[in-house]
Symmetry: C2
């Protein structure tokens, strides 16, 4: 390994947040160092010599945003030679989907600020971070076609319309509602309770649903085949 190499390795995270009221959002930090000082960017930074990639991204998230998430998945490695104006930096990226209310944000180290931005309202970003978010969103849309979604994001009991809304929000398009209900209840990870939805307006209240935890996590592991 005599070959000299002048490349640095960073990790960056696309943390998506979902609430039924606000929709899909992305966690961003405001840079307080150049380049792109004062621009918004994904949380992340250089990997320490002795830490694993996973430890590095968890440390960076904790340092720059104050949050701890232990179920990020690797997304893709971005390595175009000119993606950082200072030096060649390859970014190994991670992504995850969480409930924003569960986290208290706190900017520190390289971050002057930290905030959730709705995915339809992302500001101009540093580096190639807009492309990284696009790649993560595409992966997320794809992922919900082979893994169930919602356990960590919805209330314990929820009207079926809440699950529909989650899927249409993540997919960013309408779905065939009747077909969706038929298919998704067919997997068996949803249970219909006998409790009724509390309606604020008019209409006939439907039953509330809950996840069957055992089946949900088995299907998450084994995979589903689901075309919404």
């Amino acid at each position: 390994m005599a070959v000299s190499q002048n490349i640095k390795v960073a990790v960056d995270a696309v943390v998506f947040g979902y609430t039924s009221k606000e929709g899909l959002s992305v966690l961003l930090i405001k840079r307080n160092i150049p380049p792109f000082k004062d621009a918004w960017a994904l949380p992340g930074g250089l990997v320490g010599d002795l830490e694993s990639l996973e430890d590095a991204i968890h440390r960076e998230l904790k340092e720059e945003t104050g949050i701890s998430i232990n179920y990020l998945e690797q997304l893709y490695s971005f390595g175009q030679p000119n993606r950082d104006p200072r030096n060649r930096v390859i970014s190994i990226t991670y992504y995850g989907l969480v409930k924003p209310d569960a986290f208290e944000l706190h900017a520190d180290t390289d971050a002057a600020d930290v905030a959730w931005f709705n995915i339809k309202n992302i500001p101009q970003l540093a580096f190639d971070h807009a492309e990284i978010i696009q790649t993560a969103h595409d992966r997320l849309k794809n992922k919900i076609q082979y893994q169930p979604l919602g356990f960590e994001l919805l209330e314990e009991k929820f009207p079926f319309s809440e699950l529909e809304k989650l899927y249409t929000t993540v997919l960013d398009r309408p779905i065939d509602r009747r077909n969706f209900k038929k298919k998704i209840t067919g997997f068996g990870f949803l249970e219909e309770t006998k409790e009724k939805q509390q309606l604020t307006g008019a209409g006939r209240p439907g039953n509330l649903f809950r996840f069957n935890e055992e089946k949900y996590f088995r299907l998450k592991k084994d995979g589903i085949t689901f075309e919404v």
Copy 2:
């Protein structure tokens, strides 16, 4: 970017080969430098400061095995701190599936030899390369459930049994033949010709099939939902 970092970046490729006679194989090189001198390993090497990750893996493949493949996909980045005994090296890996007959192998630079090994008969490998092959095989099995497979691997016209054999070989398990035929012909990327299969033994010869190129590549792009 004052932070010093002592990490190198490599690319490695898992090139799968498929023939109906030999099944699924993996392209390996024999190392002629330490560590793991004389052990078999995946082709790959350090990324040049000015080349993209894709250019690096194509250059390494060309140098070490003599072959050119321009449709590799990124697989995963392996970054455990101790995976190389010399120095911290993160490997960004790629994978692809080709027809071995189309390539003439020629070992050079860091490789003393190069050969295809059947996936059921892989020798002891250098570094964490056995784990990388396992990850690539899992990804390949998953991929054929959302993309059609076979266009570059089978003859222009082929008996249906050849397509079945391709799927069972890649999946490494039996499939429900009747269900498979019904589902896969339903996508429309296969055309049944009027030509009959030449049978060497007894039995009723079936018609030959061919791919509808336009539909095949459209479905490859748009995705299929296929549970074998």
